[in-house]
Amino acid sequence: MDTQTVIETNDLTKYYAQQAAVDGLNLQVQEGEIFGFLGPNGAGKTTTILMLLGLTEPSKGEARVCGFNPTREPIKVKRLVGYLPEDVGFYRDMTARENLQYVARLNHIPDEISSAKIREALEIVELSAEAEKKVGAFSRGMSQRLGIAEVLIKDPKICFLDEPTLGLDPDGAIRMIELIQSLTRDRNITMLISSHNLDQVQRISHRVGIMIKGKLVAMGPMEDLAKEKLGVGKKKYTLEEIYMKYFYEV
């Protein structure tokens, strides 16, 4: 395995009642890159993320995350990976700081260290002023940013972000995108972003993977995919055009 490859799957397959949700997935994600993980609803993106986190077991094949098998060593994988689900959940009767502190404790971070980490994470996501407010009063955008802060608490090497900008207003979405870019740039965090917003993915991703009906139909830098499918060169394509081409072919 290449030392730069932090996520690698080999013929990863998941069946639900004889139906393949993920079918022979071979995926590689390099360290420090933003990888756009695209596909229609029910394509198997979330199931793939769950298998990479060790939350569900593959029916066939295997995965490696930072060199660990998520099925056999889920705790080691979870120590290194942050996960922001599509609809991030918080304990609504607890404050933002209390929510983060609970997650820090679950990650074996002592309170004396976590308090500084929490302060820093809240500053990064621009929620310092709301630290002592109950999360129940947060808007969706604030919750999403708090979700990022929660992920940052554990200093992850990889982040799985499932629809991180869904439901955000344009300003909130731009702030979120900039935040994701800065985290990769400044902290070398590898991002795997599952999203339907192709414009945003095109803006920030180094490479993309397109998954349709459980199969990975394309993977690589957008320029290469554009050249292969559309026959056009640099900057003369949109990710939407590439995506739709693959979608209609399948």
Binding site: Y15, Y16, A17, T46, L50, L53, L55, T56, E57, S59, K60, T71, R72, E73, P74, I75, K76, K78, R79, V81, Y83, P85, E86, D87, V88, G89, F90, Y91, R92, Y102, V103, R105, L106, N107, H108, E150, D162
Partner: protein, 343 residues
Amino acid sequence: MGRFSIPMKTIRENLRETFSEGIDTHGLLNVFKKELADHFSSYRFVILFILIAMVSLISTYMTGVGLREELEGIAKPKFVFLMIFTSTRGWFSLVQFVAFFGPLIGLVLGFDSINREKSAGTMSKLVSQPIYRDSIINGKFLAGITTIAIMLVAIVLVISGLGLRVLGVVPGIEEVWRIIIYLIISIIYVSFWLGISMLFSILFRSIATSALASIGAWILFWLFIPFMAGIVANAAAPIPASGAARETIIRKVRIQEGVSLSSPMKLYSDATATIIHPTQKTTRFSLPAGPLEELLSARFQNPLRLSQSILVVWPYIVSLIAITLVCFGFSYAVFMRQEIRPI
């Protein structure tokens, strides 16, 4: 690969990792502490506690005053302090109250413990943290049991204090031990209901459905099992209107008792009655065979020693522990096999 074999493998993997790397006390402790804090700060706990404490105090006060008047001027009988827990005085005793309303404590603490986290999206967050999945359910169950224990101990202590003041009698050492054993049995009993409600909160995604199922189980054990026991006993050993032989009556009562024992309420009532009533020598129905036996039984009305009382109720205590563990074990197995997906 078959659908059934996949989750079974997950349990195996989980258990192997748990035993190879040791029990995850860190995750367990953190979940436990948070759940405990949640219980004590929740309105439902405060309301329930006030309600139970209020009823217990009124009942104890009425019992205490009644007993004091009855015992005025006469030598105090042995184990008079325990009467505070068992005398009814026009209302109901604490023992009856816990047998009937104790399940509510367990049900209220557990009916949404898992599905609430799923619907709020916090369960997928919890399972993606570096803790073993069983730490979540173990932590929640232990926090529930601790809450139950603290609640019951507090109520019994307050009642004992009030009893001391009203009756003016200090409990003997054996009475204290009997109260402690009564408390332990009560904690196990209410924990069974906690286990049942947690099971429903794992099985049903909707909080309303799990609440309804929990109340349904309560009604089933409270109303239907005694009712069914009567029907089964009548069918198996019918007693004609003209009367029946002593053996037939005994057989009918035995069948009725046997069927009733499938209810944890019956197990609890029988076990605690024998512990808190030292003169009660059996949990079973007894019918004297003749005048000589009646005379003998009247002559030996001395209370049982504590060790003998424990021997009498031991099968009941073991049964209560067993059904609680079976219930929790089933919840554990189902929870470990469930796939937690983000909402």
